[in-house]
Symmetry: C2
Subunit: 521 residues, 2 copies
């Protein structure tokens, strides 16, 4: 069985006419995925004694080794992941999928897995786009996916402190529904919202589209519980503390290599009574970036704030004339405001003054609401684009404001040259979607024709982009994470002594190294 | 030679008449400190080969072993520290004080100290109040204080990204002067402002009185450079990143046990054009705390926000009638606003509406400005109080909002019972000085008569308070740090696996364990 395509199957993705036309212009020919029955799945090699021990913890119903479950838990959703599965390659499938029911069962599974030298891939929403779910099985008796979906409870809400405790397997969309029923919002809306889960948000330092207003996920977490093969760690006795290093920030971003996060306590906010999203036009990306910088440095800050560059603005416009606010060219800013009516409208008015002074032209709510309506649809286009013979992938980074222009130019050039040099000149789109007083993220989308070997084709482009990011002094990832894909560059970024420290922590909590081997460290 | 008293010697501290009267009421008799020449200083035991190696790095002028320098670097400024030195006990003095001139010299000193089994106490401002500067010398050939005061440069200012790179030895007060000259402020104003240095802020996770507006110091840091005995670590490639755990947060709060922070890159802000501080009266601590919580959860947030409880409000009032805004009793809130004129005044007006709705009575700017004028004077009273035979100490903690009343009651009871049980009933004062959306700090001041053995007297009270904090689930410290005084309770707070992880990191970067032995881990 092939894994289903991204998202809600009731609203499948299809290419808009403009995109299909653009692909034809690029000289692209369709590529079909192999039939589900032709996907090549290795035999399950989990030793009987190991399986029996795990069954002893979670029960036979919760250890599943059928073809369906194993393919469902094969890798994540990067373009290389999609390409491999489309080519029939399920060689990274786990031997079995294990569904513990609570924290104690997670801890016990880790303990017996270590006893039996079985590697464990912690699995929440399964939406990694950086190879975070492809364990290196060398040296292990087998590999299991530890799927936390049964840990699906909103455990507690503290309305006074405005915190909620959520189990790791609660999907993002479900967390929001559970909190809305009590009058609150989490405010975490990554593009993976329809697939990702709380545990993955925490393990991979997710950041959602409303990060300007509600913060990154690592900023939302005030407490967490971690199961490791050697025991349980509970962190978070206060919002902030001077009691040594902030070890919450050591677990966040550890990507399942140090333990399995089984629950987190997060900040929550009253569900907004009012919401308005609007568009602004800037003459250039630099002008728009300066306007965003002014808002985040001097206020007031919208809840959502993003800037598309000229290329992304042109591609995103439904109008093929490419006119934004009646003028050709230009860059689209989306500014969204959520909150109490008076507060949100006051913020909107003050931000509008700032954007106007910075040279922006107000476009009204139509582009803002259009963006909001479509904001989770991007991933739906990936398989249709691959079907059509296109290659599409995204990557992202972050830097300080003064370095934004150099970073954008370096990555754009690196991607363009690496793909054009292979005979597949790309379109490279870029936006800023997360802003901080000292800097911002840059998010790139690359579209070109598939070459004969699209995996090798993209690998060259990715390597070139990674080198450009490193050379510019930026971080290799702002919110996608490290996984296996960014590991080498990550180690260059933090240096050998920092890598050694992470390995020392891993050795302490996971002495047999069973947790997500090959990822991060 | 005795160490000088706290702060600027041109503005020495003396007890106000009201305090002297209160002490007389408590039945206190004066206690003199031993004469400087009678302070007992152990012989310097630094082996000649070790000293020669260190001199080889920094030069003979920068290795000082005279009585003056050694006493100056003996412990910090906790009440037990003051009591010990007042009693003539300088047994924790380092064998020598070393003054490296740059990062490379710091790294080389650490390397040669490790080669010679010499323990190193990193020393910035020397203002620890938790025993952070009293190394356990057992097993070492000697102990040096590594004083970073020669690393006193503002290295760079990035006006676009609004960051500044400051060396570790820049004093807080000097950092502010250097930045003001360029039109910026750091916004870090702890009570130790006149003594503490940038490196100490970072190593101990300092939080200043303007944390509502400018954040804690650990929130200001976007990059840092750490010298360890095994090499240098540079962290901070972007404001925020998903590249693994945030290792900056592993170094911040490490209190000199993992390495010596030689420089940090921090957020800066335009120097405020406008500033106004005002007072508000609330009927009770709970009512005031609810008002503060509303401001931090729903906005707008003042730059400075603090609430004194009934006891602290009464003690702080110069008017012995104890009337606040014409009414007896009540609790004083200080709300300060800094920024551009229009923005700060708009924020002040909106906050005033919120405080009024919450039951507050505006007291105007007189109490606010009085607090601002005197805000660094508290520590000046410590030696005069000890001279007069009083015992005065502070301790602090933090918790989530719903737990604030229980924590306040538990700590107050613990301190009161522990000291009353020794025949010295105390006055226990409390304030909230740092607020977060999910919780707040609680800062306690304890004043009573000195018993015959004030060290043992306070140790009992402190132990009782620590137990109360632990039992209530709060953190053992919000901004003072761990040092040696909080180590045992800290280990209970984070648990054995977390302690083991920190030890594993220390073993990696400092395999001989020379860095601040006995502190933190």
């Amino acid at each position: 069985m092939q894994r289903p395509r991204w998202g809600n199957p009731e609203t499948p993705g299809s290419l808009p006419a403009i995109a299909a036309a653009a692909l034809t212009q690029l000289g692209v020919r369709p590529r079909a995925a192999v039939a589900p029955e032709d996907v090549s799945l290795p035999d399950s090699v989990l030793p009987a004694a190991a399986k029996a021990a795990i069954v002893g913890v979670v029960g036979a119903d919760n250890v599943v080794a059928d073809r369906h479950a194993r393919v469902q838990h094969t890798r994540g959703y990067s373009t290389p992941d999609l390409l491999k599965l489309r080519a029939g390659d399920a060689s990274d499938a786990p031997d079995a999928v294990v569904y513990p029911g609570d924290h104690a069962e997670v801890a016990d599974v880790l303990r017996v897995a270590a006893e039996h030298d079985v590697a464990v891939v912690p699995f929440a929403g399964g939406t990694s786009v950086v190879g975070g779910l492809a364990a290196a099985r060398d040296g292990f008796a087998g590999v299991i996916a530890l799927d936390v979906r049964r840990l699906d409870q909103l455990v507690a809400v503290d309305e006074v402190s405005r915190t909620a405790t959520l189990q790791a397997g609660v999907r993002g969309i479900q967390a929001e529904e559970l909190l809305r029923a009590k009058g609150f919002t989490l405010g975490q809306f990554p593009q993976s919202y329809e697939g990702a889960s709380i545990g993955g948000y925490a393990a991979a330092r997710s950041a959602g589209q409303s990060s300007a207003g509600y913060g990154r996920f690592d900023e939302m977490v005030v407490g967490l519980v971690l199961a490791t093969p050697t025991g349980t760690i509970e962190l978070g006795t206060a919002p902030r503390s001077a009691a040594g290093p902030d070890l919450r920030q050591l677990v966040l971003g550890s990507e399942g290599t140090l333990g399995v996060i089984t629950s987190v306590t997060v900040k929550i906010h009253p569900a907004p009574a009012h919401r308005v999203f609007e568009g602004w036009r800037f003459e250039s990306f630099d002008a728009g970036a300066t306007a965003l910088r002014r808002l985040v440095q001097d206020g007031p800050l919208p809840t959502v704030l993003r800037l598309s560059d000229e290329a992304e603005t042109a591609v995103n416009l439904a109008d093929p004339s490419g006119k934004l606010g009646g003028s050709p060219g230009g860059c689209l800013v989306i500014a969204g405001y959520e909150g109490e009516l008076d507060e949100a409208e006051a913020r909107r008015a003050a931000a509008a003054r700032s954007l106007t002074v910075a040279g922006g032209t107000a476009l009204g709510t139509t582009p803002g609401e259009a963006w909001r309506e479509g904001r989770f649809r991007g991933p739906y286009l990936r398989d249709p684009l691959l079907d059509a013979g296109g290659l599409v992938e995204t990557l992202e980074t972050a830097t300080f404001w003064s370095n934004v222009p150099a970073l954008k130019a370096a990555v754009t050039t690196a991607l363009t040259e690496a793909l054009a040099g292979q005979g597949t000149p790309p379109v490279v789109l870029c936006h800023i979607s997360h802003v901080y007083p000292t800097g911002a993220s840059l998010y790139f989308t690359v579209i070109c024709a598939q070459a004969d070997d699209p995996l090798a084709q993209w690998a060259k482009a990715k390597e070139s982009a990674n080198a450009a990011i490193r050379a510019t002094g930026a971080t290799i990832t702002h919110h996608h994470g490290i996984g296996t894909d960014h590991r080498a560059t990550y180690h260059e970024e933090i240096g050998p002594l920092a890598v050694a420290a992470l390995r020392a922590v891993k050795q302490t909590w996971d002495p047999k190294g069973i947790l997500n081997p090959g990822v991060l460290v």
